[in-house]
């Protein structure tokens, strides 16, 4: 498993890597890449549609993301809200972008519900790749995936990469407003193992 992960990361390293690093209050995610030395790694395949919806009528324009996990035998849905970036002295002290993220698993009617509530479809993306889960100062999930766009609505069989040969590498770790600095430290430490 460790060798497979190293191999994957080496392959990714030979191309251009887009690295997203984000932390969020309440639920936080950190994305890091690097060589894993822990013994416990859980590898899962990832095939996920992310659909972005916007609600543009009202006092506040709002955006919500609907995620559909296609890898399971029965597709599973969740709703995610990602807030704006944290600013101020606290944000300047950490080397990562911090923003709030809240996610809720839902039954399959999420799409119909938000459409009925007046939300408008904005765009959708298909992520295909792998995710690794392990503990290294924080519970960390590494995702290596290609980002694909679908030429027709929800047509996953006809997806094409947004940028050919480039993979998105994300490292995510849950955190709270009380411990996000520790999680950021664990993430930064892991980052040091990442190839530039």
């Amino acid at each position: 498993m460790l060798e497979e992960l190293s191999h994957v990361l080496n392959c990714v390293d030979n191309t251009c890597i887009s690295c997203v690093m984000q932390l969020s209050v309440a639920d936080m995610e950190c994305v890091v890449q690097g060589i894993i030395e822990t013994q416990y790694i859980i590898l899962t395949f990832l095939q996920l549609i992310m659909i972005i919806w916007t609600f543009s009528i009202g006092t506040v324009a709002s955006e919500v993301r609907l995620l559909c996990d296609l890898e399971q035998s029965e597709p599973s849905w969740s709703v995610r809200h990602v807030g704006g970036a944290m600013r101020g002295a606290g944000a300047e002290q950490v080397s990562v972008l911090v923003r709030s993220m809240v996610e809720s698993k839902t039954s399959k009617n999420a799409l119909r519900l938000f459409y009925a509530l007046g939300y408008k479809f904005d765009h959708e993306l298909l992520r295909v790749g792998f995710s690794f889960n392990f503990y290294r100062g924080a519970q960390i999930t590494v995702t290596v995936a290609s980002i694909n766009k679908m030429l027709k609505l929800h047509a996953t069989d006809e997806a094409v990469p947004v940028t050919l040969g480039i993979q998105m590498v994300e490292v995510i770790a849950p955190a709270t407003s009380e411990n996000y600095t520790e999680v950021a430290t664990a993430m930064s430490s892991f980052c040091e193992y990442l190839a530039p």
């Binding site: 309440a26 609600f55 809240v102 809720s104 509530l117």
Partner: protein, 218 residues
């Protein structure tokens, strides 16, 4: 999970529901040798779109409800009755809705009940009260049959129990009766196997009946 049927109390024309009726109904359960097991609670919230221009509300659903159940503290249910949509979500969906600011909660009602056990059945005698108020707005009875989760398979035994229940209540000569109108679960995309989503749909339907009969009386 076990099948449940919800009956709502319909007062006679010109009468209102009150705590005396509630007490008499609770006594009916005790007549059946029901044993008090505990309490139950659910909350139902009406949501309205958060719009600058209120004249465009016609474009948005008027029957968007949220339901929480004490027995499922980590879950929340959304229903749009007009479009027959029910959604089960983690309770974190409430935080998402708060952040989205697209809809605001307007009116909340509590369904507060006492749970009785009767052999293979459980009965919840429920009073419908506004949030942060004590005035009784309605009465419901929730009948649960523990051994079966198939709606179709439990139909006969449930109907027989409901008939017995109605007979016992009728002997009290109260100014009203229990009504049972089972929603069309298939329209909501729900199957024969009973789930919490079925319960949420029943709560919404029973409340709609309560509101409608209150409007007719007024």
């Amino acid at each position: 999970m076990p099948i449940r049927c919800i009956l709502h109390w319909q007062p006679n024309q010109g009468t209102v529901v009150n705590s005396q009726v509630l007490n008499e109904i609770s006594q009916c359960v005790e007549t059946l040798n029901g044993v008090k097991e505990g309490r139950c609670k659910a909350s139902l919230t009406f949501y309205r779109p958060n719009l600058r221009d209120q004249s465009v509300t016609i474009d948005f659903p008027r029957d968007f409800l949220g339901i929480s159940m004490l027995e499922l503290p980590n879950k929340y249910f959304f229903i749009i009755r007009g479009q027959k949509i029910v959604l089960e979500a983690d309770s974190s969906i409430l935080l998402i809705m708060e952040k989205l600011q697209s809809y605001k909660s307007k009116v909340a009602l509590n369904f507060e009940g006492v749970l009785y056990k009767l052999g293979d059945f459980q009965i919840r005698v429920i009073k419908v009260v506004p949030n942060q108020a004590e005035s009784l707005r309605g009465i419901m009875v929730e009948i649960e049959y523990l051994p079966i989760s198939s709606i179709e398979k439990s139909k006969q035994i449930m109907e027989e129990f409901i008939d017995i229940w109605k007979e016992i209540v009728a002997k009290k000569s109260l100014a009203g009766q229990f009504m049972h109108a089972e929603p069309n679960y298939a329209e909501y995309g729900l199957g024969d196997n009973y789930t919490s989503q079925h319960t949420a749909v029943q709560y919404a339907a029973a409340l709609a009946q309560l509101i409608q009969s209150a409007q007719v009386r007024n």
